[in-house]
Symmetry: C2
Subunit: 93 residues, 2 copies
């Protein structure tokens, strides 16, 4: 069995990869925000959010991940994305 | 500029990769849980949790990610990990 220290090092490396994926995701949603600002679409799309939350919970269950973890991640992410989209729309006005 | 549909498809693909990393992270923390159960260590380590939360917020800031998103993710993750560790210790008793 690996030492506790080695296992924790692996966990920290995974967290680093996760943060990089968060950044990648924001780089795409920033493009979505610019698209919405240019096309006069609202920053928040409740239907899309609902579908995303349902989808990620189902993905989580498939991979043996607690749906609460996936839901908490995505809820915080969606709120931050909407705040960025709102800021982009203000920039355009 | 890419279509909204194409951008959303990319977002969904990133979310799928994120869930896979959550699963990978749990596979490592399950090993941590078994190590703790075998060595009589408590399921929750508040000092380690504090360090992890500080570390991920700083990583998030480096990558232009809102620290609230990183914090919400990790808080939910740590709670789920402790629940798994507690279950592993109960199995051993």
């Amino acid at each position: 069995m690996e030492s506790l220290e080695a296992l924790r090092q692996s966990v920290d490396e995974v967290d680093q990869s996760i943060i990089k994926l968060f950044a990648k995701r924001f780089s795409i949603t920033d493009q979505v925000g610019r698209y919405k600002a240019q096309h006069g679409l609202p920053p928040k799309d409740t239907t899309r959010e609902y579908e995303q939350l349902e989808h990620i919970r189902s993905l989580a269950a498939e991979h043996g991940v607690e749906p609460e973890v996936a839901g908490a991640y995505l809820r915080a992410m969606l709120d931050a994305v909407v705040a960025r989209h709102e800021a982009l729309q203000s920039d355009d006005n």
